[in-house]
Amino acid sequence: MLSFDDLEPHLHFSNDTTYLVNFWASWCTPCVSELPAFESIREEYRDEKLKVLLVSLDFPGQVDTRLMPFLEKNGIHSEVLVLNDPDANRWIDRVDPGWTGSIPATLIYNRDGRLFHEGEYSYEELKQIVEQKLK
């Protein structure tokens, strides 16, 4: 489990990879419904310089009892980091100042630019953005 200070470097890599960083939780219905889109994109672009990172906001007491079984059951193969840093007021703006704090929320970035979205993404929307970023 990471504090935000531990997580923050993952939001600022300046290599040649494009990062899809999705903030979610296994109890969050709209988050769970968009996860297959992220998994499909990861699978589809596995040979490209694209990395999907799922930042789970599941409660610390539920990581073993709920999050892990969820990942197993749903065949989630993206890298999952668990963020445990309750004073979100301290770090939400450091992800993006436009984020009001609801999840799901997604940061897509590479060294050429950043795009933040609060709310769900469809597969088509993600694909379009990824295609553009990988150009």
């Binding site: 109890w27 610390p60 309750p86 979100a88 007021n89 703006d93 704090g101 609801s102 999840i103 609060e118």
Partner: protein, 199 residues
Amino acid sequence: MKKIIISLALSLVTMPFILAGGYNVGDKAADFKLPNIDGKYVSLSDYPDAKGFIVVFTCNGCPYARAYQDRIIALDKKYKSRGYPVIAINPNDTGLKPEDNLEAMKERAKEKGYTFPYLKDEKYDVFKEYGATRTPHIFVLTKRGSDLVVSYIGTVDDNYQDPAAVKEPYLANALNALLADREPDPSFTKAIGCTIKQQ
């Protein structure tokens, strides 16, 4: 005259975006009339003696909202007598979240012993006007003459996991400041919460 027309045209263009953004601290807030779990309608104008209100957009299912239920009850008990009662509003679309319908709200309020009204945003317009995006999302309103002014927007405190580990009780600090005729600092905080569910 030309100038007036241009600025009017501009304001017409920008207005929907401003409305979509909801309230900022310092804005005047609108009253509402929403159904309570007892079937009666509640408005802020029903409280002529209140100094202000703690308006809490919340729901039944969201783990963050649930984590704060007991703290919201405690805040209502403490600040109602000082002039700031809690008014809870459930903004989730019951088509998407049947567990947030009036019947389920009634059960939750009974189970937890809510000491405050628990209203349904039945036309899903009040939360939009206020600019609530998540549950829980709190707006403290203060009466200034005949106006209701938004004095604090944000979260309850800095630790949803453990009330005993709270270092910054943001909402209580804001209320204490208002009761002492000071401006809350901070008057705006953020927290992770559940997206308000709408079709």
